[in-house]
Symmetry: C2
Subunit: 380 residues, 2 copies
């Protein structure tokens, strides 16, 4: 099978990641931060080293300000609900994932908050103006995906961070599609909270998300044992304990640690250039095929993440993906948990097929996919 669904989860994982998982089971088999014996302390040390590594990689606010979560959705929920209070107003982009929209919709539906969606299909300047104009005295936060998980468009994060800072607004970024592939520095970009999965472009396994944060998070949605201050019934307010209840995912943390080492070794820019090159060429090939519809507005370097969304005339995207699957090519179709993005790109009726490569994808893999798409396009 030619795997072109890396934006859902990267496959295969680097050998070093698989080895790190085994190490997590065997070498770091103690419960980190619970007991005081060597194996537990070694595990806790590995966790702390990984926090330090992640903090350095993303220019965060310190190793204690890196929390491990179940996945990116949990990281976003913990950040959003830890910051937004009753009566607050929030601004989001029109390409947000349901991991952002569903929590906000629930709070709005209960009459607790309000939010506005800013159209993000224009230029960076238009987007920035849209956000600035929509800010009210009640606006507490801008929540923004770094890139569209379906259409690859990259948001002007640095400029939005400056705007948020200038207006005294908290800036939460969903880096599900960009962490590990695009440069992110929280301090330089004035990002207060940064959320990401471990299992996509960081090349870790599933079941681990990462939340980097400053002091903005005041409330918790999960409380429980933290291995600290056991005699206090109140959730500890120290970081990261406040945001990490129950036993941590040790193998997941080991996998993320190895994943970041892998990216550093390969070079994040090299990985991006490789995938960018593949997508640009494939996009060019597809643009010459009748009945194939492409969506990306701009292919400017660093202004889109290497995903290739397309459709074949009016065929439902799921149908196209099923044909590709029957030919041994794995892609994702449908709505990708991102209804707003589909409304923005007018693909509400048939969704979109998404090709997403990884560092391991070769040119011939994409050529095979294009040949197959070409045949489908001819048949409609």
């Amino acid at each position: 099978m030619i795997y072109l669904d890396n934006a859902a989860t990267s496959y295969p994982k680097p050998e070093s990641v698989t080895n790190a998982v085994l190490e997590g089971i065997i070498k770091y088999g103690g419960n980190p931060g619970r007991s005081g014996h060597d194996m537990s302390i070694n595990a806790a040390q590995k966790v702390f080293e990984t926090r330090e590594k992640i903090n350095a990689f993303f220019g965060g606010y310190g190793a204690e300000n890196v929390a491990f979560t179940y996945n990116c959705t949990y990281a976003l929920n913990i950040a959003i609900k830890g910051i937004i209070n009753e009566g607050d107003h929030v601004l989001v982009t029109s390409i947000e994932h349901n991991a952002v929209l569903r929590p906000l919709y629930k709070l709005k539906n209960k009459g607790k908050i309000s939010y506005d969606i800013i159209n993000c299909k224009g230029s960076d300047n238009e987007i920035l103006t849209g956000f600035e104009k929509a800010i009210t005295p009640k606006t507490k936060a801008i929540i923004c995906t770094h890139s569209s998980n379906v259409f690859g468009k990259v948001m002007p994060i640095k400029e939005l961070g400056e705007l948020a800072k200038r207006k005294g607004i908290i800036f939460i970024v969903d880096a599900a599609g960009s962490a590990g592939i695009l440069h992110i520095n929280m301090r330089d970009m004035n990002i207060n909270c940064l959320c990401m999965p471990g299992h996509k472009s960081i090349y870790g396994i599933t079941g681990i998300g990462i939340l980097l944060f400053d002091g903005s998070i005041k409330n918790t949605i999960i409380e429980g044992g933290t291995g600290s201050r056991s005699f206090e019934l109140a959730q500890p307010s120290i970081f990261p304990d406040m945001l990490e209840s129950g036993t941590l995912n040790m193998t997941g943390i080991c996998s993320v640690s190895a994943g970041i080492d892998f990216i550093l070794k390969e070079g994040m820019t090299n990985i991006y250039e490789h995938e960018y090159g593949l997508i640009k060429e494939a996009m060019n090939d597809l643009s010459g095929i009748k009945n194939v519809i492409l969506y990306s507005e701009s292919l400017e370097k660093n202004k889109y993440t290497p995903v290739l969304p397309f459709n074949v005339k009016t065929l439902h995207s799921e149908r196209v993906a099923a044909i590709l699957c029957s030919k041994g090519i794995a892609v994702r179709a449908g709505f990708h948990c991102a209804c707003a993005a589909h409304i923005t790109y007018k693909t509400e009726s048939i969704g979109a097929v998404r090709i997403s490569p990884s560092v391991y994808t070769e040119k011939k893999d994409l050529k095979s996919a294009i040949n197959c798409i070409s045949q489908i396009a001819k048949s409609v």
Copy 2:
């Protein structure tokens, strides 16, 4: 190192569990429930089979009523906050873990709910009477640990389930210390929600918890992409999607599946008998040593889980554990995230040392520990 800290996390894992984790990375490397290609569908099928296996093992309410969480604490938070509403009253035992007490304390502190703690140091009848007497017309739920994580005492779950049913109260059970070692059947025991970690007596890896539930859970604390109904901004109300947002922990699920197979192969009763025998003998040995304080009220079979809590005179439990560690013996000391239990057993000042074996623990491991404890006891 002699590892006697299996109640924190079991170690080592069965070889079949480690292999299952590798299979989770390689064979089931697609994102389950997201894309429609073979690797994604195979992963989804593996997830469903594991739900079925867990449901059968615990006599649950159907495979769809098995949700995977980050850990047991998350399962408890999702259950508690999904059921308890403003104005409700809750009853808990005096040996609850902070995974139950901290969420409740937070809700109480905000003036949203009230709760009473029932003293659980007496006979089953006294405990049952305590609960029955404390029920008020506002009592929505009884939340009860199946066994004390520190002192091993097993609660009369079946009788409490009957009481809850008779009174129309929801019954939530924390099986952190019992799942995989004591018989549990949700339907027979009238349990509405059952929460457990994958990484203790189920022999899976860390980062995976399990929540079995009936229809009682009405609210969510986490919302996001579920791979289903992407075009609805409201969190889907279908199970298990409602309680599972974001990508699932595939390796964790594979590990739990293999862990349950391992238990079925070894025989849960055999595992219990093995550990029970070890603890009973060790308890007997320790009872003859001056300065050693033991806590277990009753060693009646199936009335305690195989953990051995003790102290050496007035030495702080952490000090005893540190000496044991220096001799190559790994145990847990301190307060074990269970302040209420320490108040109940009057160990608030020095905590307790806890020895906890697994299926792999041998008699000679406990003999080594006892020799070492004996030396410590002589020196005070």
